[in-house]
């Protein structure tokens, strides 16, 4: 049903060059998306080993995000039709994602706080700073969860099984 006379007639009618995408492309996209979805769930259960200085956790997360970005690209380009869209459409689609990353400037702040030169706090930072699980804000007073969970009322300290 991809190329019907109707479509041809319509596009000459208004002179507006919209592209009717053949159904098989949509079906293929859906299949690809499904596969990627299964892939991301599968990757969750696999502990990817560390690569150089990058820890395995980060690797896992990176893989998950790469898959998510691929899915996004498929949806944006094919389902949302940017592939066949005007330059302006492409520009705005890009702007949205680029600008989102500007927000990421905030992220300079948090890791860098740990490197501030505040003599006298090195000891404290060694303990409470980026722990092995990275679960404490540097120089933050709130109790951090190291190996033992901290429940306010000490009701239950059963380690997770």
């Amino acid at each position: 049903m991809a190329k019907t006379p109707l479509q041809a007639a319509q596009s000459t009618d208004h002179g507006y060059q919209h592209h009717v995408v053949p159904t098989w492309k949509y079906v293929a996209t859906l299949l690809a998306l499904t596969v990627l979805m299964l892939l991301t769930v599968g990757a969750y259960y696999v502990d990817i080993p560390a690569v150089g200085p990058i820890s395995g956790t980060v690797m896992n997360q990176t893989v998950a995000l790469i898959i998510a970005c691929t899915k996004t690209a498929l949806v944006v380009f094919i389902f949302m039709g940017v592939w066949w869209g005007t330059k302006l459409q492409k520009l705005w689609a890009l702007t949205g994602f680029v600008w989102f990353f500007l927000l990421g400037l905030i992220l300079i702040d948090y890791p860098m706080r740990a490197y501030e030169s505040v003599q006298g706090w090195e000891g404290e930072r060694g303990k409470a700073g980026h722990g092995q699980d990275g679960s404490a804000l540097p120089r933050v007073v709130t109790p951090s969860s190291q190996d033992q969970p901290v429940a306010p009322d000490e009701i239950n300290l059963r380690p997770r099984g």
Binding site: E116, S117, V118, Q119, G120, W121, R139, V140, V141, T142
Partner: protein
């Protein structure tokens, strides 16, 4: 009140010199460019006003070289100023290693400072001149900012996290201390003064337990001695315990002594018991308390101190003690009547103490009552 026209804040720290240089340079630069634009605008507006006979031939609409120059000059000047500003900023944010620590707690609406030997003060900060002082600060509730204009430095005080600032005061005197981050109703009154003292005077002040904090009542000063330097609360808690009887509600009560003699506890009795406790031992207790007579002779304890202690003991009645005896942590051996002992733990723990002390020291009023904060009167020079 005669008007005075100060044109600059006092300069009283090592930051002030380089800071002022940078500031005045920027001022000069601002003035220069403002004049340039003002003069340009006025001259052009007059010269090329409608109907003037000025020469308008060969007007220019685009000039890439000029534009790039106009682009370049501000950029270069900006980078230069950035460099000096950044250097100053890094300097201000990097406390030297040999700094002396003072801890500061911000709370709606007062500052509580605690010196390393446990001396505490509210809405006032005593610092020695010529020494690097680092403040480690935290807030108990909302965000505040610790601001000392004369030192050209400030830092926000954030709940949940320590922030630091440092300075090196250079000139003796009293300077404004402000909270510079809006923190609620009495924000404008959350402040006081910074007293920069000669190092010897500061040491002496510290040794005196910081008792010259002017805003404290006698009872409060007594409380400081009781819970602080003299640590009476180690034995005399809210309830009788094996080490000593409680002094809560003591004043005016009849006491029976080990020799079965009884007496109403009055000022004289209390003074006697501080200086020579062995004279009148309360029934059931042995002679464990040291006699403070020698300290009085040595000058470590003054008559004034004793009066303050008495004033405090008078103020300890059952209701205040019961109402405030919530020791943080819950497992303190010594039950502390009004405030926990200073200096025993880090600043965060002592935040609660500060709160209590505050509630005693500064009755919170929401009105524009000039007398509300004692420091107000002090500063109304």
């Amino acid at each position: 009140m005669p008007f005075n026209f100060p044109l600059a804040p006092p300069s009283a720290s090592t930051f002030a010199g380089p800071y002022d240089t940078l500031f005045y340079t920027l001022c000069a630069f601002t003035l220069l460019f403002t004049l340039l634009i003002f003069v340009g605008v006025i001259v052009f507006a007059v010269r090329y006003r409608q109907g003037s006979k000025a020469d308008r031939s060969r007007p220019v609409y685009e000039d890439l070289r000029l534009e790039l120059t106009l682009l370049g000059i501000p950029t270069i000047l900006g980078l230069i100023f950035f460099y000096f500003g950044a250097a100053q900023y890094i300097h201000m944010r990097t406390p030297p290693k040999d700094s002396q620590d003072i801890f500061v707690i911000g709370k709606q609406w007062m500052w509580h400072a605690q010196h390393s030997n446990g001396v505490r003060e509210n809405n006032t900060l005593h610092v020695p001149i010529g020494r690097n002082v680092r403040l480690t600060m935290i807030s108990q509730d909302v965000i505040h900012a610790f601001y000392i204009p004369a030192f050209r430095t400030q830092m926000m005080v954030v709940p949940g996290r320590y922030t630091t600032m440092w300075f090196n005061a250079t000139k003796e005197g009293e300077y404004h201390l402000f909270c510079n981050m809006y923190c609620g109703t009495q924000h404008s009154e959350m402040g006081g003064k910074v007293v920069a003292m000669a190092p010897e005077a500061y040491t002496a002040w510290l040794a005196n337990g910081g008792d010259n904090s002017p805003q404290l009542t006698m009872a409060q000063r007594g409380e400081r001695l009781y819970n602080g330097r003299l640590a009476c609360n180690n034995c005399h808690g809210v309830a009788d315990n094996p080490r000593g009887p409680s002094l809560v509600g003591l004043f005016g009560k009849r006491r029976t002594f080990s020799n079965a003699v009884a007496q109403v506890a009055d000022d004289e009795y209390i003074r006697e018991s501080i200086l020579r406790p062995y004279n009148k031992l309360v029934a059931g207790y042995g002679q464990e308390m040291p006699a403070y007579e020698s300290e009085l002779i040595d000058g470590k304890l003054t008559e004034e101190n004793i009066l303050e202690l008495i004033a405090y003991i008078k103020s300890m009645n059952a209701s205040t003690a019961a109402g405030t005896n919530v020791a943080p942590g819950g497992n303190n051996l010594n039950l502390q009547p009004l405030s926990i002992r200073a200096g025993a733990a880090g600043p965060a723990v002592n935040a609660l103490a500060a709160e209590k002390e505050y509630s005693e020291a500064t009755p919170t009023g929401h009105g524009k009552n000039l007398g509300v904060n004692a420091y107000a009167a002090e500063n109304n020079r």
